[in-house]
Amino acid sequence: MSIRERMSGNEAVAYAIRQVNPDVMAAFPITPSTEIPQMVSTFIANGDIDTEFIPVESEHSSMSATMGACAAGARAITATSSCGLAFMWEVLYVAASDRLPVVMAVVNRALTGPININCDHSDSMGARDSGWLQIYAETNQEAYDNYIQSFRIAEHPDVKLPMMVCQDGFITSHAVMNIELIEDEKVKSFVGSYEPENYLLNPEMPMAIGPYANSPFYMETKMNQRIAMKNAKKVILDVAKEFEKISGRSYGLFEEYHMEDAEYVIVIMGSAAGTTKDAVDELRAKGVKAGMIKVRVFRPFPGEELAAALKDAKAIAIMDRAESFSGMGGPLGSELKAALMDAGCKATVVNNFYGIGGRDYTVEDAEAIYNDLMEFEAGTKPFKQFRYIGLRK
């Protein structure tokens, strides 16, 4: 029987780490992810797990140590947020190109500047081209479930890529909600032990990791990363199916909410999906064919699958919680619009920025977006492609 509890998203991830008992965790504290290494340290001090904790002096070092431990043959993890993730930048690409399946809990927070500790997705969205798998959670439950699944995905022989398991800072990481935990033994047997085929500390077969690869080899390396990333789609779905057997909870590349006959659709990621679902419920009660898609997996990007799910929509609002300063759309908007165009989509599509730096996003905001979609589509309101939601004017 699963265990009913209440806990925050950070507690949920720390709980999962205790159950997985990884070999190595290297971390440096940064709000709002600090609690994760802090709680893990407590588990270690209490003798609950035998993870080797490496206290480092910066995130550049935490990522380097995590990567090094993984290359040596250990199951290695870290956690970070915001500027901590930014400080890892150089090493993120190395972990990905060296094909080291480290798992990192990312508690999303705005990047400085201006200095701000609240949630948005600018940290992990900035790292979207680093070659890491990225998976996002709406709730503490999803953060826990995604975390447990992440090892099987990252370490799969067809993938072998590092993975970010993201949740929204404070909103998910610190708010206490109900959760269903899985028994320790079930988690342990689901995750299994990490048995890399090749590793640096194997005396039977010495090896080199990360050799120099200039122009004759660099593109071939990138192609191999690209293939691994594409392979991950199937692995993510297979692992989700197996996870459903032990949890009863099902996951896909994205979640569809009232999409059966939806004409007006918001596409969103993270905790704000919950807010949007409330708006969908209210509009549905009034007879409006509103629907929502919550993108769970951002890397690899499920562009074709999303376009197929959106094929009957009349108007779509894509919601970005990060600026990219193209003067046009945000990361989710740009990529999804490209996928929609490839699929021949004729719907009215807008791209909104919301919740940046922790700005509130309310049920009323979501309802107003649906109402605007209806008006844009009917031509009763001047069309606006890009907007900031909740901006003071």
């Binding site: 080291l100 085929e197 039977e204 077969m205 010495p206 690869a213």
Partner: protein, 102 residues
Amino acid sequence: MSKATDVTKINEKSPYYDITPGNQIYGGGGARKFTTGEWRTETPVVDWDKCTQCLLCTPCCPDSSIPVKDGKREDFDYDHCKGCGICAKVCPFKAITMKEGI
């Protein structure tokens, strides 16, 4: 465990699917087969009449390019010598001179 990588078979003509994940190289000693001597712009030349076989140059070479056999140094391993000139500097008998080019 993968088989030892044959680095002589991975070259500038190898398709991407023949390259290991993460470019990992299995089995030690790959550097021996990977010739890097062409990086040189200057080349050490030994004058055997001046060489006393004191063997000071060998441990100073950063590229292990001065082989020793039966207590005597042999000619340079030009497949790996980078032409740094350290050996010429350390030789107490000025038996090594640096010539321009490979």
